[in-house]
Amino acid sequence: MANRTPRPRPPTLYRAARAIQRISAVLLVLVLIFAGVATYSGIRFAQGVQQGSSQQLGGFTTRFTANQTLDLSAQYPLNNSGVLPVNGLSIALAVRNPLGVLLTRGSTGGVQIASGGRAAVPFSLAISLSNSSPAGSLLVTDQELSIFIWANVTYAYLFPVQLSFEQSYGWGAPFHGLSTTFATPFVLPNGTVGVNSTLSFSDHLNLTLQGSLELRLDSAGGSTCGVLSYPMDLHSGVDYQSTQTAYLVSGCNPLGGTVRGVIIGPAFSFALPTQEIPP
């Protein structure tokens, strides 16, 4: 075995230069590996977000509340099939009607999903049903709503990701096709004028309607000619039709006027869109 002379220690500058080179090379490899893993993981996660929404978003539960609003709540399913956890995910939704008018928006934040985990993010959207609200037609007209969804997250500490997409949602109105028709008025022996009024609509909302629907017949001048009350205990998908008699105030002519409806439930009360009475 040959004797080997120990090599002298390299000079300081040489060692410093090589140490810096090695550190930068190791860091480069680590960063590239991490970036590759994060990219792959992020793509899997983004696919899961979109897949989950297209499968299940739209399973809203609806509820009328006391302050003339319709509450829509849903569980937004998220599946993180990536290899990195998701921290601080925030999701925002905006609902627009077919004319593009914003009806409501909502958001949720701070969602944590472990790698390979699933989460159901709860959402609650409140839609105002007041007379001035553009959402009033939701009560009486089925329509195709657009739901815009944004998801924001800083993924793997390095990558801010924003996913946005639009999804259509078929809205079923609770009073779809609301119509009030009037038969020929008749006169009672005491001189009171009566008129039979038939109310019809279809309940297309996934909601049981209980309470009563009050209709007020107003003349063209704005004075109230008569009042009708229709009791309700309806279930989703049921066609409603009922005839009631309105006894008109003496001298008041509702022809050319309006029908104003108010639905009164156990814990809510709100106005329906006004209907015109033909002259």
Binding site: L13, I20, L27, A35, I149, L158, L163
Partner: protein, 162 residues
């Protein structure tokens, strides 16, 4: 063209490869770096463009800068036994930082997905790469300082005799 090595205790033998071998090695490095930092980004940018992937930089820019970095790295590898190695390493680092800075300014990718879009920002990653490239450039500065202070001192360690 090459410097001779020496130590305070006496000359330490250095076995510097012949110029053709160094040119071959430099060419391999140049091709590897040009492919990694030029052609692969160029391919990805042109390949994904039809798939509605938006990136704010023309695909030819990373290609040209990647080739430039490859050529400088190749030259540095070939000329490693000389005093030009330090300046070429610094130049390579500077061009690399410029390359990364161009990407940093456009460090958000927009991808069109069904009925929407996906935006991914990778600015922090590019900043990390800039820091790492800066670190490599510092190594070039230290090597240059060593070459100026003690010419040829590193050669027996870079090219130890067997």
């Amino acid at each position: 063209m090459t410097d001779s090595g020496s130590t305070p205790d006496g000359p330490l033998p250095a076995q510097i490869p012949s110029l053709p071998r160094r040119i071959a090695r430099g060419a391999a490095v140049a091709i590897g770096v040009a492919v990694g930092s030029g052609f692969i980004p160029y391919y990805l940018l042109t390949h994904f463009k039809p798939a509605s992937v938006g990136f704010g930089v023309a695909a030819t820019l990373p290609l040209l800068l990647g080739i430039a970095i490859g050529l400088i790295e190749g030259a540095a590898t070939t000329l490693r036994p000389t005093r030009l190695y330090g300046p070429l390493s610094i130049l390579s680092g500077l061009v690399g930082i410029g390359y990364l800075y161009v990407i940093f300014q456009n460090s958000t990718i927009h991808v069109s997905v069904t009925s929407g879009g996906l935006s991914i920002g990778f600015g922090l990653l590019i900043l990390l790469l800039i820091l790492i490239t800066g670190l490599a450039m510092v190594a070039g500065v230290v090597t240059l300082a060593e070459d100026l202070a003690h010419p040829g001192e590193r050669l027996p360690f870079d090219y130890p005799a067997r």
